[in-house]
């Protein structure tokens, strides 16, 4: 029972992480029609920068702040130098160009920090575990991740639906040329949206760094998961990304933990141990296939596109 | 009396809160050229899109050649003999003029799941295609790239494509749109020749064309048919005059 609760919490944590990455991805695609494969390296960069600043300052808090700012700066730099020339291009060009950026940055990170995985200690305040239920302890830091992810989700919701900036973002997502014709500096709007998305990804990387090993290419796998999230959620929909992210986080975690046990109900232990992990690894993609079969544009498709 | 080739029963379509087609009943008789006119925003293009299958009505039935086609897809309706032109010409710009038409023949004639053989060289497809191009006066441009045709020539090409389908009903969505005086005259001449061969539903703004070609005219206003009748009757109808009061008639 307590294993189930732990895995549910783990699933929520993965889900929240996926949301942070997917939100930026779906925002950028929704507003600028730009598919950014290099979003995963932003996440990776956040983690590396956190390690670097922690080594320099010795303070987790300073590392967080500096890493976030540095990730933002680097993201804006990339936007200025490469990405803004791609907004008008077709998606194939964007895919190829951002793929090139991934190759470059994955190698650059290896060049600067070496190929060996790095680690970051959990901030002292949040290290250790707390007792949630009798017999059930859970790492505090993971709870912090869940809480901060939910907080960001709330912040995004308020920003997008209650502020003027959010209104511009929603309008831009619907009809960027029109918004521009109304006198809004669309370039600045795009930059703000992109910067925000970049920060979200960097933030995710910073938060996960103490738990995962920081290594080149760590952004790639999670990027594709984020794609699955936004495809299921509906490209351009933050609400869809939130729901889909939690769904996928839970399904993937619970699937991997309990697939063998569930299968043992219907087959012998030995084949269950082979088939179980195989099905667990395919589970979220099968989910994606199922959703897309009935809703080719996701659960919350963009309107008027 | 022969059954109508097209019958719309109680068609309804809403976009958001706007009722674009309202409880619409309409018929196209066999062999006639039936024009639909109406002010901008009356719902003419949505009507054509519902008939051809690009837009699904919220309720109502569409009967074509005796069959209920309301649930059928666009290709299925086309295979039954429903051809259409588009207000903004829709052709294959990267293909040659004759290939554009030959594809229409290919769709009608038989299996396209043939993986070998040079389709562009098949006489069985090219000959009817050339004949259709002849009808619209484009046979000299058969080998030109369709994307390089003039606006009027592209319109004519769309007509040839529709012809090659040997349609049971031809839907024309504002063929005169954007056409100059000469082009309009040529198009009217072509359409007069085609009249009678198969029923045509002509949605149009250009009144010269409408009164030159139509056997019957229906007036569409706010998603409903105001009245239907012969050109003279419609021209004299006080309701129609009132509806068009202040409207520019070309």
């Amino acid at each position: 029972m307590s294993l189930l609760v732990v895995q549910i919490l783990n699933g929520l944590q993965l889900g929240v992480l996926l949301f942070l990455i997917a939100a930026g991805l779906t925002l950028v695609f929704g507003v600028m029609n730009f598919i950014n494969l290099a979003h995963g390296v932003q996440y990776m960069l956040g983690a590396y920068l956190a390690v670097m600043f922690y080594t320099l300052t010795g303070s987790s808090l300073l590392a967080l702040v500096f890493a976030l700012l540095a990730a933002l700066a680097f993201g804006l730099f990339l936007e200025f130098v490469v990405f803004r020339h791609l907004y008008e291009r077709d998606h194939l060009d964007q895919v190829i160009a951002t793929f090139g950026i991934i190759l470059f940055l994955n190698q650059a990170v290896k060049y600067v920090w070496g190929a060996a995985p790095l680690s970051l200690p959990i901030p002292e305040l949040f290290s250790g575990s707390i007792v949630l239920l009798p017999g059930l302890t859970y790492p505090i830091w993971r709870l912090v991740i869940i809480a901060s992810g939910l907080a960001v989700a709330l912040l995004l919701y308020i920003l997008v639906s209650r502020t003027r900036l959010g209104m511009l973002v929603r309008a831009g997502a619907n009809n960027a040329p029109m918004v521009s014709a109304l006198g809004v500096d669309i370039r600045r709007l795009f930059m703000i949206v992109f910067g925000f998305g970049t920060m979200l990804a960097g933030f995710a990387g910073i938060m996960i760094a103490p738990i995962l090993s920081v290594e080149p290419g760590m952004g790639d796998t999670i990027l594709i998961l984020a794609f699955v999230v936004i495809v299921i959620g509906g490209i351009g929909s933050i609400r869809g990304a939130f729901i889909a992210a939690l769904l996928i986080g839970l399904a993937d975690t619970l699937g991997r933990s309990f697939s063998v046990d569930i299968l043992r109900l219907v087959m012998a232990p030995s084949p269950a141990r082979t088939v179980g992990p195989a099905i667990a690894s395919m589970l979220i993609y099968l989910m994606m296939a199922l959703v897309l079969y009935f809703r080719p544009t996701g659960l919350f498709p963009p309107k008027g596109r | 009396m022969t059954a109508p080739v097209l019958r719309l029963e109680g068609l309804n379509k809403n976009f958001g809160g706007l009722a674009v087609t309202r409880n619409l009943n309409f018929e196209v008789a066999a062999g006639e050229l039936h024009a639909v006119i109406g002010p901008n925003g009356a719902g003419k293009t949505t009507l054509i899109n519902q008939i051809s299958g690009l837009v699904a009505p919220d309720s109502g039935r569409i009967l074509f050649a005796g069959r209920d086609v309301t649930a059928l897809s666009v290709p299925e309706r086309a295979a039954l003999g429903l051809a259409r032109s588009f207000q903004i010409t829709s052709i294959l710009p990267g293909f040659s003029v004759i290939e554009n038409v030959a594809l229409a023949v290919q769709a009608r004639v038989g299996s396209s799941f043939r993986f070998f053989g040079h389709a562009a060289a098949e006489a069985a497809l090219n000959a009817p295609a050339l004949a259709a191009l002849d009808e619209v006066g484009l046979s000299k441009r058969a080998d030109a790239l369709a994307g390089q045709l003039s606006h009027g020539e592209k319109r004519a090409l769309e007509l040839a494509i529709a012809l090659a389908m040997q349609p049971k009903l031809l839907l024309l969505d504002e063929p005169m749109a954007g056409a100059g005086r000469d082009e309009s005259r040529r198009l009217i001449a072509v359409l007069s020749r085609l009249k009678g061969r198969f029923p045509i539903l002509l949605v149009e703004h250009d009144m010269t064309a409408v009164f030159a070609l139509a056997d019957r005219i229906s007036v569409l206003l706010y998603g409903q048919i105001l009245t239907s009748g012969t050109p003279d009757a419609v021209r004299a109808d006080p309701q129609v005059v009132a509806a068009y009061l202040g409207e520019e008639m070309e």
Partner: protein, 318 residues
């Protein structure tokens, strides 16, 4: 066949003789792999270049074909007339099944979904513990053909691969100009118009997707025999990305462009990786530049140069 493809195939055919003067095994191996990936690239060009279906999961078909061979081999089944059909059927079936879902979507959704399905195949292979999992599976014997081992002789194997490449090229050429091909290409130009003519585009695209999967499966069969090894990395999304780059590099929608692109990409990679360990840092920006500047690939550039040359020599002296 026009002159350029013939020249390419002739070049491949003559290579072993030229290689006899130098590092024969290395060159034969390198160019054989180029040809194998070119077969897969042909299938991808069919989809991307002629159908505007940007499939980002193409490497999965190669991997599935390769794994079919290796898995059968691990159970003692080495006969090519069993493992080749199995490889082809497996890859085609995967293509067909995922295609039924992918092709319901358009544009960016399609790219992302093909990417995701490719990942699915990758993770499935990684989780197959009895067949090596993450580490991959070694093949202890290459495929046999009625008791003979043609794939053990480097030169014979090389020419078999060349024959497959030429065959696939001719197949794709025929496909493109056939009735089927015309409908498929028409769907790229104007899907709405094709529908109003009576063509159910979905069926044609699904067939093309399955065919391109089969070509990938063939490449996988040959690759497994060439490397005596299969691993999930064969299906990674980076591999899928590389395939797309290869066909753009050569020139989309030309078929022999796919072969040229594969050749140039592979040779460039070989050369750069010999220069520095960090060659991907050069390769990455290079790709970005290619995309931004030379969108129609090397063939497009060559055509532009040729046109400029002709203009220079046609104009009367000023």
């Amino acid at each position: 066949m026009s002159r350029l493809p013939i020249a390419i195939f002739l070049g491949f055919a003559l290579l072993p003789m030229a290689a006899a003067f130098g590092a024969e095994t290395y060159l034969l191996d390198l160019f054989m792999r180029v040809m194998i990936f070119a077969i897969a690239a042909l299938g991808l060009d069919l989809l991307v270049g002629f159908g505007a279906l940007v499939s980002f999961g193409h490497a999965a078909f190669i991997g599935i074909g390769a794994y079919a061979v290796a898995i059968l081999a691990s159970h003692g089944i080495n006969e090519a007339w069993i493992s080749l059909p199995v490889a082809l059927v497996a890859a085609t079936a995967f293509a067909y099944l995922t295609g039924t879902i992918c092709l319901r979507t358009r544009g960016v959704y399609f790219i992302m979904i093909t990417l995701a399905f490719g990942q699915m195949a990758f993770f499935l292979a990684s989780s197959l513990a009895p067949y090596g999992g993450d580490d991959g599976l070694t093949m202890h014997a290459r495929s046999t053909l009625f008791g003979l081992s043609p794939f053990k002789h480097e030169r014979l194997f090389y020419y078999i691969v060349l024959a497959c490449l030429v065959g696939c090229y001719c197949l794709c050429r025929a496909l493109v100009v056939s009735r089927f091909g015309r409908v498929f290409r028409g769907a790229r130009e104007n899907a709405t118009r094709m529908a109003t003519l009576g063509f159910d585009i979905y069926r044609y695209q699904l067939a093309a997707y399955a065919i391109s999967g089969a070509l990938g499966g063939l490449a996988g069969f040959l690759l497994a025999n060439a490397t005596d090894f299969v691993s999930p990395a064969y299906m990674s999304w980076q591999r899928s990305g590389e395939l797309i780059i290869m066909i753009i590099l050569g020139g989309l929608g030309t078929l022999h462009g796919a072969i040229i692109g594969t050749l140039v990409y592979s040779l460039l990679g070989e050369w750069l990786s010999g220069l520095t360990e960090n060659w991907k840092m050069i390769f990455g920006p290079l790709l970005v530049l290619v995309v931004l500047l030379a969108r129609s690939g090397l063939l497009g550039l060559a055509a532009q140069v040729a046109a400029w040359w002709r203009k220079q020599h046609a104009e009367p002296q000023a």
